[in-house]
Structures are given as structure tokens and as C-alpha cells.
Amino acid sequence: MMVARTVICGLAAILLAACEPAETETSGAPAGMRRLTEEQYRNAIADIFGADIEVAGRFDPIVRPAHGLLAAGTSEISVSPAGFEQAYTMANSIAGQVLDAGHRDAFLTCTPADATKPDDVCARTFFASVGRLLFRRPLTDEELMSRVAAARRATEISGNFIQGVTLGLGSLLASPSFLFDVDETEPDPDRAGQRRLTAYAKASRLSFFLWNTTPDAELLDAAASSAIHSAKELARQVDRLMAAPRLEGAVRTFFADMLGLEAITNLVKDATLYPAFVRAVKADMPEQTLRTIVHHLLTKNGDYRDLFTTRETFITRALGLIYQVPVPQQTGWMPYTFSDDSGRAGLLTLMNFLAANSHDGRTSPTLRGKALREMLLCQAVPIPPGDVDFKLVQDTNNPNFKTTRDRLTAHRTAATCAGCHKITDPIGLGLEVFDTVGVARTAENGAMIDTSGDLDGVPFATPSELGRAVRDNPATASCLVHRIYEYAIRWPIADGERDWIKSLEQDFGKDGYRLKALMRRIAVSKAFYRIAPAPGNGA
């Protein structure tokens, strides 16, 4: 439990606690519309209707904006025809399950007068109650009447009331008001001429941030009473959400996004050269990194930067194949600490970072270096030029390069190449003692591997030292702040937010680089809910 210096300076302040400085002003982002991710969709269904409801279907992939998070991409994508086909099929399938004999009593609290005929009153009651949970706000009169009429039509065709409301429920689940999180706004009483998120929209934004799902009943109630507009009630809800186990799921989703883990589905390694990269290993690989992160940042509430130097992690028997250490526990995960002479310390030396940023059959220092720069330091690496002259690479007398460092000599010496490759290659070369699946090695083709280099002027000789250089690099902590905020608002960060972000970075430092403190600051801030006017936004 951190000591929060959240005493507000008020007129009646008696205590001599330090006053919280006024929050840095920020522009906020315009009101937007964010498509639910597959995870959010599934979480919503499980939370609203129960975990035993089967959700089977394909979701349109989210496009990752250049140098951005998938979370930000949700504000740019829509639903394709193939995607809606799936969404509609899923909607009807879910509705069918919710209203089947085994489930319906929990949701349909009224009985129709005649099971074969429409019953508008009962239908309306039903749609109002589930609709509020699905749309994350009460349905408007029009919306209710439209569903009731639809259920009526369907009942008349099918001769079955349940069938009618099932299809009506399906239409709620296929609705853009469910599939998208729409920022509904109203005039802001505190800022003349500006708009603010409605209480329900606030509740949604907060819930998707901290729990990656739709607002629960208590949060919806806080919105219904407008209590959520008060700083005190907001803080109370934030603390409630942050104390719950669900926070871990959201943190996992965040880091999976930040580390680009979705690309792992298509990761393969050459089976002849690397037979140990079996399915169990591939499955455990990202999980190890996520567990390490969760343990360090949530369970231990540790310093974010130490993720790059910590030797504490978790391991399974399958991963034992890669790390080549004994794993006493036969099944499942057990805590594991690398020995001091293992050569492993920090996320960069865990299998996920090494294998995911590497080719099928050999390593790629450039890819590993690029991954560190872009994902963990938030530094964009320029794309290679289209007109590279490869004669240089070709024109060697005897291309008998033994180590990767030798092969990449051209990257470092040719003028057109070096400018960019010096940003990436030294980092990756510092990790060459781990092959493309992350197994440790000291030599390549008989020649010893040299892992010395420097990161923005800080020299290192081993991967552990590289980890320390990353830890101490100011971009590391500031990148996390950027990313978590981008994740929270699910929008690319606007220029007008820069000062606010800077203040967050400073506070992050003051809080000992603790993630929970950072998340809480964001969640209770005004900035997080700030709506910027959009050009041409009508209402």
C-alpha cells in the first residue's frame, strides 16, 4: 500500500500535509469511437452473461498504428463485411445461449402472457436490463421501442416469444453501441463552451482501462447517480478497481500490447535446426515474460526499471529445454531465480524478447535492437531506403563470415547503412550469446562471440550490463509513461498532451517508478477524461 499524498488543499485544510500541486493542463483527445477488442468482447460477455457462454468466431484484426499500440488502433478501425458476418453470427449464438432453458431464468425475470405471442412489456423489461449492461448506459426510449418492435416481428414469424427476444438480444449484441465504445459527451459545467464525457462514458473509459471490460453494476450505479463526476467518488471507484484481481488482466493486456506479443502467433523456428522450439515451449514463452512483469510490478510493486536487471522469473519444464536448467516442478509454473553466473538478467535475456525478434533459422541483431528501440524506448527507427545498393554486400572476395557481427560489418561501415544500423545493431549484437530461440551459446561456427557495445554512449560488455544500461536510460521510464497513457486513452497521444505527459513522467520518478501509482494517477486525473473539441464536430 503506497503512501498517497492526495490531500487536497481545500479551504478547510487543517492538517499540515503537503498540498498536491494543481494538475498540469492538457488538451485531451477529441471524443472518439473505439472498437472493442476481442478480449474486451469476451470479457464483457463473460461478465454480463457468465463464463460458460461460448463465444466462437473471428474478429477483425486490429491494425497497429505506426509506432503505436493496438489499443490506439481501436480508435481507427471499423468492422469489415466479413467481420460483421462473424459478429452477427456470434451475437445470435450468444443470445441463443443466454435464453436457453439453462440460462434464461437469470436474465429474463418476467414471463410472457402467452409463450407463442409477443409480450411488449416483458420484452421491454428484458431489453432495458440487459441493454444497460451491453450498451454501458441505459437504452434510449427509441432504442427500446425499436428492439421491442423487432422482437414482436420475430415472434410473429416464429410463433415463439423466446425466439423473438433472442433475436432482439442478438440485435443488441450486433449493435455499434455494443461493439464500439462511443465517447458520449455533454456540456461541461466547469468549462464554459467545452464538453465533457457523460458519467457513463467516464465509467466505460475507466473500466476499459483498469479492468479491460465493461463497467460492472457498481460502476454503472456510480454513473447513474452522477457520483462519478465527483473526484472523491471517482477515487473510491478507482481504488476499488485497482484492488481487484482483474487489474492483473489489464496489466497483462497492456504489456502484451506494448511488447507486440500478438505477432508471436505466427512465430516459427526451423524445426530441423531448433527442435526444442515445440508447441509447449512456444506457449510458455510469452507467459513467462508476462508473469515476470506481473510479479515484479504488481505483486512486489517494484521499480519498473528493474525489469531489465531482475533475475527473478518463473519457469516450466518446457522452458527448461531452452534455459537448460533443472526444473523440479513437473507441471505448471514455479518461481525461478537465475544464478549470478547464468548470464541472464532482465527481460531482454528472457526467451520471449530473444526469440520473437529473430528469424526462423538465425538471429537478427537488427531486429532485436529495433525491438528495444521501438517497443521499450519509444524511439522510432527509420525504415530502410528503397534503393539500397547491395553491390557492397556482394562485392566481397571471400564471404567467409563466422559470426553475425562479421556478417553485419557492412551495416556498420557503409555510409548509407551505418546511420540507422548504429541505432539498432550494437544492442542486438550485445545479445548474440543467445541464439534465435534464446538458448545460451558462447561461440558461433567456432568463433567466440563478442557482446560488447554501447547504448547511447553507455558501454556494456555483457547482456547483464546491457540490461543495466537500459534500466538507467531515461527513455525507458518515459516510454512506459507514454505507453500506459496511450493504452489508457486508446488514442494516439496528441501534441496538446505533452506537458501533462511530462508531469506524469516526473511523478513516476517520484513514485519510485511504480506502475500502480502511475496507473492510479492517470485514473483519478482530470486529464484522462478530458475531451478536446474536434474540428467539425457537430453536436
Binding site: G32, E76, V79, A154, G168, S171, H359, D387, D389
Partner: protein
């Protein structure tokens, strides 16, 4: 089979869930004397598709040295040798950058499809296959079908812009299930009853479209566009439901295939080639059964992540790292990948050509535009982009010729294809790729 003197069918009340019974006229009397059209006068559908492969061709091993008909076949085109009269080669057409960067492997493909090179790393516009699908796709269950040989639903060049791409299917079984699964109405089925469940579904969807106005009012311009796309997608499903309530026109050649086996693929070249073949087979019957008229295939991705088992490297790396063999004059391992891809192209053309339809084959009633992202991938060249037109588009196109574009913009080819497919369009492309000149030598 005897010919019936007349057609008889009886339609009983649709609403109220009544059954519709149709006495099926025997199939061959539905066709006109040549078998090239349905008796009612509707011609067999003309299909359009694209077929994309990444990393181009090998200089000196693909482009024919002769022009016009009966062009000579070089090694990388051997697989289409026997279909030569149905395949045209379009060389010498360029992607014009207008000062924009040539993003390695990210410029050529999108530029060909959209008539403009991307200014940043995002799909630069509306792909011309989408324009064709908009024009002809409304009358089939699926507006278009997108397929990928390798794993990854984002391996697609069909769409309207970033975040608005049509995802690709890489599993033949999943494609089969989507097309021939529960919602498939066999056009040759003996009787047809509009399903009351579908009628009910259709009646309910308007509750979704009703929400449009209220939502739009809250959104900014960019979001309104996205909302619009969403409702376009809803319309497509409404369309599908409407079509499912109508008896489909019988199609002689449509035979529901057996479900293909589950075949998990990543990006191993041999697995990809095999996967592509089973996808193509399901696609061919999808087209024959008129479930869609538009398709887009990307066998590998632009930068070609293809690998070969036992090798430490990938197709992409080989094109850049492998030395040109002095004796052969090309990169041996990289070229092997191109050979595999071109063989797959031959397989694809062959599969379309193997289905008899009307008096010819499915290929005769189709136009396939095949193209790559680059010419010589090693240097990312986007001039002289390799392009092929396969099929006769129902007689609208004169295939089997090699035409040299002499540096003209590739957008001319997209315009040609759209006009062949009877899209009402007279110009395509932006900047120096803006053109109103189709390649008329191709028109029949």
C-alpha cells in the same frame, strides 16, 4: 434427360413461414442452346480476382522476349505454358512515385491496387478490386472473398484504407465452412423453402440500422466514416439474408465439394504451396456456385516471410544477401522460391481451367489479375512490375498476348481490369498515375 416443355413452379405464401415448393425444371433445359447462358437470358456470371505474390521475378527468367501472341516461355513461366492462350503478360508498366519514398515491399503492391504510391506506411486508398466488388458484388452472398496462402489474416491488399482492409482467410477448412456450411443454399437443390429463421433474422436487423442517426450525431467526421463502414457491413449481411430467402439460380457446374482437411500452415514454402492449392480448390467451387464473384489471393506476403525447412534463412533474406551465381547469372536459392511461387500460379490457373462451365471453363468466365510488389526484389525495383491477366472474362478480353507498357503507369492496368468488369469508371489513379487510358489491345 428429357426436356420439359415448360417450367412450372409454385410459390406459396412466404410470410407466415409457409413452405415454398418448386418443381425443378431439368437443368439442361434452363440453358440456352449453347449452354453459355441460363434460359431466362441471364449470362453466366463473370468473375474477377487478384492473385498476388511477393518478391517479384528473376531478371531474364520470366519476361518473354517476344511480344504479341504466342510469346516465348521462359523458365519462370513454364507452369502456365499450357494455358498460354489464356494468359497475357503485361511487362514494362511502372509504379510512379511522384516524389514519395519507395518503402521496401510496402509500396509496389498497394500502389498497383490503389493507383497511388503510399506517402506513409499505410494503405493509400481504395483498392480497385474493392471498386469492382462494389459494382458487382451485391448480388452474391459474399461481396468478395480474401485468401492468404501463409498464416495471417492481415496478409491482404484489398480494402479501403488503413483499418479498413478485408481480412484474409488462410484456412481452407474455415473457408469451406463459411461458404458451404450451414448457411449454404445449393443452387441445384431439388426444392427450396425460405427458412423462417432467416426471415426472422432479417426482420430484426433493422433495429440495428435504426441506431445510425442517433450515433452519427455524436461523432466527428473521421468516426462517421468508420460508422459508415460498419453499416455497409451490416448491409452486406442484410443482403446475404435477402439472397438466402430467394431460390438461387441453378448452376450446372456447381457441385458441393467435400470438406478439405484441417491443414495448419505458418510460412514454410512447401506447406504454403500445398495450402494455396487446397484454398484454390475451395475457391473455385465457391465461384462456380456463385457464392461470390470477386476474390483476392495473396499467396505470400509482400516481403515474403517464406522459409524452407532446414534453412537458416528466409526468402526475403536470400533476395538481399544471396550472391548472384556467376555461372547461372541469378541467385539460386532465392530463385527457387520464385519458381515455387510461379508454379503455384500455374496450379491456380489450372484449377480454374479445370472446371467446365458453359461451353468452356471457369477460367474463361473469369479475369484474374496477378501481380507482385516488385520486379527484381533484391533492389526493390518497382518499375517494370510483373503483371499477368488470366482468363477471358466471359469473352470480354482477348487473352494470350505479351504487351510492353514502355514505362506507362500500372494504373492503366487497373483501369483496364475495371472496365473489362463493366465498372462505370473512366479514370483511375492519382498524380502521374492518373490515367484515363485503358490498354485497349486487351479488349475483345
Amino acid at each position: 434427360m428429357t426436356r420439359l416443355a415448360d417450367r412450372r413452379w409454385v410459390l406459396k405464401g412466404l410470410l407466415g413461414g409457409g413452405a415454398v415448393t418448386v418443381g425443378l425444371p431439368l437443368l439442361d433445359c434452363r440453358l440456352n442452346g449453347n449452354g453459355t447462358a441460363l434460359a431466362a437470358g441471364a449470362p453466366l456470371p463473370t468473375r474477377f480476382g487478384t492473385w498476388f505474390w511477393g518478391l517479384g521475378v528473376t531478371p531474364g527468367r520470366w519476361k518473354p522476349t517476344t511480344l504479341g501472341a504466342d510469346y516465348d516461355i521462359l523458365p519462370e513461366l513454364e507452369s502456365v505454358a499450357k494455358y498460354k492462350s489464356k494468359v497475357s503478360i503485361l511487362s514494362g508498366f511502372d509504379v510512379l512515385l511522384d516524389g514519395k519514398p519507395n518503402f521496401p515491399h510496402q509500396t509496389g503492391g498497394p500502389a498497383f491496387r490503389c493507383g497511388v504510391a503510399p506517402a506513409r506506411l499505410a494503405f493509400p486508398g481504395v483498392s480497385f478490386d474493392t471498386i469492382i466488388a462494389d459494382a458487382i458484388g451485391a448480388t452474391t452472398r459474399f461481396r468478395s472473398i480474401e485468401l492468404s496462402g501463409i498464416a495471417g489474416d492481415d496478409n491482404t491488399l484489398s480494402g479501403r484504407g488503413p483499418g479498413q482492409m478485408n481480412p484474409a482467410e488462410s484456412s481452407a477448412l474455415a473457408l469451406y465452412t463459411r461458404v458451404f456450411g450451414a448457411d449454404f443454399a445449393d443452387p441445384n437443390a431439388a426444392d427450396f423453402k425460405p427458412d423462417p429463421a432467416i426471415m426472422a433474422k432479417q426482420s430484426v436487423l433493422s433495429a440495428v440500422t435504426d441506431e445510425r442517426r442517433a450515433l452519427e450525431q455524436q461523432l466527428g467526421a473521421a468516426d462517421r466514416v468508420r460508422l459508415d463502414q460498419y453499416f455497409t457491413a451490416v448491409r452486406q449481411v442484410e443482403n446475404q439474408l435477402t439472397l438466402q430467402l430467394q431460390k438461387p439460380e441453378p448452376l450446372l457446374a456447381c457441385k458441393v465439394p467435400k470438406a478439405p482437411p484441417e491443414f495448419p500452415v505458418a510460412h514454410d514454402v512447401e506447406e504454403t504451396i500445398h495450402n494455396h492449392e487446397i484454398l484454390a480448390q475451395v475457391l473455385a467451387m465457391t465461384l462456380t456456385c456463385n457464392q461470390t464473384k470477386v476474390f483476392n489471393v495473396c499467396i505470400n506476403d509482400s516481403a515474403s516471410s517464406l522459409t524452407r525447412a532446414g534453412s537458416t534463412t528466409s526468402h526475403h533474406q536470400l533476395t538481399h544477401d544471396e550472391q548472384i551465381d556467376e555461372k547461372l547469372g541469378y541467385q539460386p536459392e532465392a530463385t527457387k522460391f520464385i519458381a515455387d511461387l510461379m508454379k503455384a500460379w500455374g496450379t491456380f490457373v489450372g484449377i480454374l481451367d479445370s472446371i467446365p462451365e458453359g461451353g468452356g471453363t471457369l477460367l474463361d468466365n473469369t479475369l484474374v489479375v496477378a501481380h507482385s510488389d516488385s520486379d527484381f526484389a533484391k533492389v526493390h525495383s518497382i518499375t517494370n512490375l510483373p503483371v499477368m491477366f488470366a482468363g477471358a472474362a466471359g469473352g470480354r478480353i482477348k487473352p494470350g498476348v505479351h504487351i510492353d507498357g514502355k514505362g506507362e503507369a500500372v494504373s492503366r492496368l487497373a483501369l483496364t481490369a475495371m472496365q473489362v468488369m463493366k465498372v462505370n469508371i473512366d479514370r483511375f489513379g492519382t498524380g502521374s498515375m492518373d490515367t484515363n487510358k485503358p490498354v485497349t489491345e486487351l479488349f475483345a
